[in-house]
């Protein structure tokens, strides 16, 4: 894992002191709320429905057991005993007090963490996949470049007041598990035929009110141009992105207005001035950062006990089939700890006790490292197969052993109207209603891969557009309704879901989901996944079923 050096430590400490002073000036009214707003946002602090919410950065979703324990401490001391892991691989605490935030940040700084730029109109947390460095299909570990980008974008003085937020994601594996195409800048790292690392650069992706997938602006950018190219894109965006309307301010709107060719010409022209300059990355720097991500020393592992347990314990085998993923080192696996046990806990939430248990397991069964997946689950990247059964039993006891990774109940959901000041509708009760309806594990496993994403408003924090089934909360004359989309997908075959028709009340949603799923079960071909059936037969059979059903009085 990356460890701070003196520069990193100094920056985070000074930033805490700076923010402590700003909070003080706000509390004494020296700073108006309007002046304070962007300052607190760039330190991760939102004002939500009930209280301030603090979003702590987990760079590219990687954290150590020690850091996880501090998050547990914050949950216990400053929140109501839990935290919420987000789709940007961060964590947020919903019940913090403004005056105590500097102390929380101080405590985070002790373990090399911060909340810098987790909000605001600036470059946000750089994300990559949860299995970086261990995935069997990886070309290269994406974390060194993600860390280099993190540093470069942190308190970069020219780009702190962009037209709107700016999200960058990086993927370096065969399968895209980082939702790269829905980012303002998406980066696919590849080793080219000549052996050089090259980047495919996408620009203008994003969800929100006007969802769009990123378009390719560069197919073959040598890795050492990463920073200068991103700088060129940001400068063009900073100067020309719209600022008159918050909903048209993301870079995707600029790219669409200019067209990708014209936008790309602007960027290339800007980049010509930068490409061979000081921003060019050096091999020394890459190696310095990459050394921090050197793989741990893996020990040979005997799979015999694992095989025996698989054969003897069907529930364990079921969990393994969904929540255990191949590792590039034989004898090891990566484990997904589901934060979606069902109706008893909102998706992405973990209690302080759960966080501490995960930290313990990371040390006992791995090398002290934990990941946050953008699907809001936790990942233990390096577990010996021989230890899987023991881990699974403990995970089940702690409520983190639900065997539903990638299944219908592995719901991505934003905090929604229960917490968020922006939401039009609640998300959590909708998720719970669906999870209750689909409690039967045999049925769930039979349905197979099916992503269901819920957002409480157009801002799309729950990524509803790229769920195979998407649910969007909308406000109609002061009451909460839910619009359903079908056919969304993440990954290299990303697609935006299409709306099936008029929206539904909260009470109707589980029935609607059931009707959609039954349509799939009736229509699917052998081995065909839900999203493939939707693609093959189109929306009509689903619509017919859902709306015919809706017309029949209960």
């Amino acid at each position: 894992m990356y460890r701070y050096d003196d520069y990193d430590r100094a920056l985070v400490r000074e930033r805490v002191a700076q923010f402590r002073d700003q909070v003080q000036r706000r509390l004494s009214d020296e700073l108006s709320e309007e002046e304070f707003l962007p300052l607190r946002l760039q330190n991760g602090l939102y004002l939500q429905k009930h209280a301030y919410m603090l979003r702590v950065a987990i760079p590219y979703g990687t954290l150590s057991s020690g850091q996880m324990r501090i998050l547990a401490w914050i949950a216990r001391e400053h929140d109501r005993g839990y935290g919420h892991f987000t789709t940007r691989q961060n964590i947020q605490f919903n019940w913090v007090e403004l005056a105590r935030v500097p102390d929380i940040l101080e405590r985070l700084a002790d373990v090399e963490m911060h909340a810098i730029q987790t909000s605001g109109n600036c470059v946000r947390n750089i994300t990559t996949e949860a299995f970086a460095g261990v995935a069997a299909d990886e070309f290269l570990d994406p974390r060194p470049l993600a860390e280099i980008l993190r540093q470069w974008s942190t308190v970069n003085p020219e780009f702190l007041f962009l037209p709107r937020k700016f999200k960058i994601a990086l993927c370096a594996a065969e399968e895209d598990r980082a939702a790269v195409m829905m980012h303002d800048i998406g980066l696919y790292l590849r080793r080219a035929e000549d052996g050089e690392l090259r980047l495919k650069v996408l620009v203008g992706g994003g969800l929100g009110r006007t969802p769009m997938l990123g378009q390719v602006i560069r197919d073959d950018l040598p890795w050492w141009h990463l920073l200068s190219y991103v700088e060129a894109i940001l400068r063009v965006y900073n100067r020309h992105g719209r600022r008159d309307n918050k909903y048209k301010a993301r870079i995707k709107i600029l790219v669409k207005a200019l067209g990708i060719e014209a936008f790309s010409r602007e960027v290339e022209e800007e980049w010509q001035h930068l490409r061979d300059g000081e921003a060019q990355l050096t091999l020394d720097e890459y190696q310095r950062v990459a050394a921090a991500f050197d793989p741990p020393v893996y020990a040979p592992s005997d799979d015999l006990a694992f095989g025996t347990a698989l054969a003897a314990d069907a529930a364990f085998a079921r969990w393994v089939s969904r929540n255990v993923r191949p590792h590039r080192v034989p004898g090891y696996a990566s484990v997904v700890l589901s934060t979606k046990p069902g109706a008893e806990a909102p998706p992405g939430d973990a209690t302080a006790e759960q966080m501490e248990r995960v930290a313990d397991w990371a040390e006992r069964f791995g090398f002290g490292e934990i990941r946050v997946a953008h699907e809001q689950n936790l990942v233990l990247p390096d577990v010996r197969k021989a230890d899987l059964h023991a881990l699974w039993r403990e995970a089940c006891a702690a409520g983190l052993g639900t065997p539903n990774q990638g299944l219908l109940t592995d719901i991505i959901a934003c905090p929604g109207g229960d917490f968020c000041a922006l939401a039009n509708a609640k998300s959590i009760p909708i998720a719970q209603g669906i999870q209750q309806r689909f409690e039967d594990l045999d049925y769930l496993h039979d349905l197979g891969d099916l992503s269901l994403n819920i957002s409480g408003c157009m801002n799309a924090c729950g990524h509803h557009h790229i769920g195979n089934i998407g649910i969007l909360g909308v406000d109609k004359n002061g009451s909460e309704w839910y619009q359903i989309t079908l056919g969304g997908a993440q990954g290299t075959k990303s697609a935006l879901g299409k709306v099936i028709g008029p929206s539904f009340s909260a009470a109707e949603v589980p029935d609607v989901i059931e009707a959609l799923v039954q349509t799939y079960v009736e229509q699917r071909g052998a081995g065909e996944r839900f999203v493939e059936t939707v693609e093959r037969i189109g929306l009509e059979p689903f619509k017919a079923r859902v709306y015919r059903q809706a017309e029949v009085p209960a």
Partner: protein, 187 residues
Amino acid sequence: MKNLIRLRDGVAELAPHDPWTLLREVPDELPDGNFILPLKDWLALSSGRSELAREQSAPETPELVGSRASSLLQNAGVWLAPEDDPEDLIWRLKEPALIAIDFPSFRDGRGYSLAYLLRSRLGWRGELRAVGDVLRDQLAHLRQCGFDAFAVREDKSVEDALKGLAGLSVLYGRSVIEPRPLFRRRT
């Protein structure tokens, strides 16, 4: 302008007797003084003078207008709005006494990029002044982007704003005043 902070050899000082007046609009009749003019007016004046210089021999040229424009320009600065293009100044960078960049709101970050372009690409070495909604908590970012004068919003305490200039000691990336990213500065 009131509430001005200026950097002299990198050291900040208050400039209580700043002679400049920023004109958001240029009246028909200008009194004597030092004015910072909007880009389009400044350009009109500047190109007017060159035309006049070329036509100096023409009998119908009113001598008075020529010298008036000339003296006005000698005492003129130019200010850029966020949507202005600094490239418009590319052939005239010897002329303005100072360049100001306006921040209609401190949340409008375009001025940072304009400053970068003026300093790093166009090579402006004279005074670069931030005007408008200029506040303590942004001064360090402005300084790093090449501003060396800061007209702090007039309802704020300029002494207080001085504290905002230092900012953080670490800059990972690069900026106008530190063009090398940290990875090239590490020892």
